[in-house]
């Protein structure tokens, strides 16, 4: 057995993603961070290496992996650049609703181009008045003949403007509240679909976060996923599947910062010896590594549960995202501390890891919301006699 019981294909994915991260991303990551734009050339390399195929079923042009494969690749990329990793993984987030709820026809239409990396996907849920509370959703999709007519704005959308394929959650029947939302696939270039404000972000700057604007955007009714009213269920099931990926991103960022901090600490001489020889520093390294290892194992466990097809994965999936992202924030803060004053400078990678880590506590549901999900579930399980 290898260290994490990876299959041979998973080992191959890990090695290839690591090679690309080291050879192609590391030399340009500071520049990508500075430039604040979509890393087109790197994404092309990932596409040519088949890394977009690993989360798409074989019958639709993929290599047949799932959440676990996406986690492995995302972790490796994040060890070097959390931004590139999100540009990549968000295409998986956009594809998951189609994989989970699309008809055979819809899958045939959209998935092969996502698997080849020729087209990037995105997921549009958040709105100005609907962040944690998706019930505040105002974007509408009114049925009109053979089309849906979309109106409204989505904000903070990863790969906005860059992606070709967008899974959008919109209200098809406002009067039905949570049961009035639906998931619809919108393609770039459709009339009435435009892009608004591009955000200037603290971290993960090698990814584009942008507003989507719908003004009488007509989308063929055949682009509706499953049926009307399932919008929020599509969103929740998508997050159940994708949250371990955020956990993997967090684990990668944490591990990347540890790797750099340990190297620095072994070389930095103070008081006549490497600072890594001081117990205060060593214990920091020990705690950082132990927590990251625990997070990694929780993430892998959650991803494997997701792929196993068992039903109740909301809790474990939320736990993996919650724990790994909190660990990443703590670990990257301490990694910077180990760098001393240099860590505070942009010349060194420590401060970028810290900036990149923060987002993992916020998106795909803030960690407060994850705790809500987990707490509620545990109490429910307890009541129904399913105690651990």
């Amino acid at each position: 057995m290898n260290e994490y019981n990876f299959t041979e294909d998973q080992l191959m994915i890990r090695d290839l993603a690591r090679q690309i991260a080291e050879d192609k991303i590391r030399p340009v990551r500071a520049e990508l961070d500075e430039k604040d734009e979509f890393p087109e050339e790197i994404i092309k390399i990932l596409a040519d290496s088949d890394l977009f195929a690993i989360f798409v079923p074989e019958e639709y042009g993929g290599l047949g992996g799932g959440a676990m494969e996406l986690c492995i690749a995302t972790e490796e990329l994040s060890k070097v650049c959390g931004g590139v990793a999100v540009s990549y993984a968000a295409s998986g987030l956009g594809a998951f609703p189609i994989i989970l709820f699309g008809s055979d026809e819809q899958k045939k239409k959209f998935l092969p181009a996502i698997a080849s990396g020729e087209k990037i996907a995105a997921f549009g849920l958040t709105e100005p008045n609907a962040g944690s509370d998706v019930g505040g959703m105002e974007t509408t999709a009114e049925k009109d003949g053979d089309d849906y007519n979309l109106n409204g704005n989505k904000i903070f959308i990863t790969n906005g403007g860059v992606a070709d394929i967008y899974t959008i959650i919109a209200m098809t029947n406002k009067s039905r509240g949570a049961r009035g939302a639906s998931a619809i696939v919108v393609e770039k270039g459709m009339d009435g679909f435009d892009f608004g404000k591009k955000e200037d972000k603290m971290g993960i700057r090698a990814t584009v976060t942008r507003e989507l604007v719908f003004e009488d955007c007509r989308v063929p009714a055949e682009n509706l996923l499953k049926r009307e009213g399932l919008g929020f269920i599509v969103a929740m099931k998508t997050f159940d599947k994708s949250r371990p990926g955020i956990g993997a991103q967090a684990v990668g960022i944490a591990q990347g910062s540890i790797n750099e901090a340990v190297e620095y600490a072994s070389q930095r001489i103070q008081f006549g010896q490497p600072v890594s020889s001081f117990q205060a520093v060593r214990h920091m390294i020990a705690n950082m590594s132990t927590k990251t290892e625990a997070a990694r194992n929780l993430v892998y466990h959650a991803a494997r549960m997701v792929d196993s097809g068992v039903k109740n994965i909301s809790k474990i999936s939320a736990m993996s995202k919650l724990f790994a992202s909190d660990v990443a924030m703590e670990v990257t803060t301490n990694a910077l501390q180990i760098f001393g004053g240099s860590g505070y400078m942009k010349e060194y990678p420590a401060e970028k890891f810290m900036r990149d880590a923060k987002i993992t506590q916020i998106y795909e549901g803030t960690n407060q919301i994850q705790r809500d999900v987990i707490g509620l579930k545990v109490i429910k399980e307890n009541k129904s006699g399913k105690k651990k």
């Binding site: 294909d9 191959m12 290839l16 690309i20 050879d23 290496s49 088949d50 195929a53």
Partner: protein, 261 residues
Amino acid sequence: MNIVVCIKQVPDTTDVKINPETNTLIREGVDSIINPFDTYAIEEGLRIKEKLGGEVIVMTMGPPQAESVLREALSMGCGEAILLTDRNFAGADTWATSYTLSRGIKKIGEVDLIICGKQAIDGDTAQVGPGIAEMLDIPCITYTGKIKDIDENGFTALRMTESGHNVIKSPLPALITVVKEINEPRMPSLRGKMNAKKADITHYTAADLACNLESIGQLGSPTVVRKIFAPPAKGKGEIFKGEPADTAEKLAAELKDKGIV
């Protein structure tokens, strides 16, 4: 277009150690990789194939473990891999290696273009490419930095020199050695890696290639290594700073002082 790319398995370090008794490289405990210059040769072969069709065959002479670098080449997109392996090949110098590889290429039959890296990072001789061309009696262009206008009949190459480049037209078949300015090698793909893992690799022995036994391995190697040593570290240089007139004067005085002029 049938293209053969010759690659070498080398230790993954430029800091190789030498066994002082045998005067050979110590390879134990060092990972093996494709000689970095050969990855540019593979990439160029693949690019020409993508433009003109045909096949890229990758070939190496080495022990059975050298299959790993052949599989790596397959994962980048080469269509076929050939390993020349035989106890009698061991200890080959550049002459015997060139001979053996040329026998391997003859065995393939119709080959239009042979591509090698400009040199190997362990031996650093840059002799095997030209040696193969010589034994096959075909044109050889070394230090190729760009290939232009290639078709079934011939091509134009830019041969990089220290001061610029030569523009050389050549018919086919021919052999080129490439420098790293020629392209940016692609990453392997997952599908490529999966296929490479399962791919059959052709093995040829000295008998398969009808090699003359006096021309292969240690026996066929005219090179005698008398001694290998790390060159002594250069002394510290000295930089004269200041106005050119003053520094020139200081330099002249120093050279006179040391009896150099």
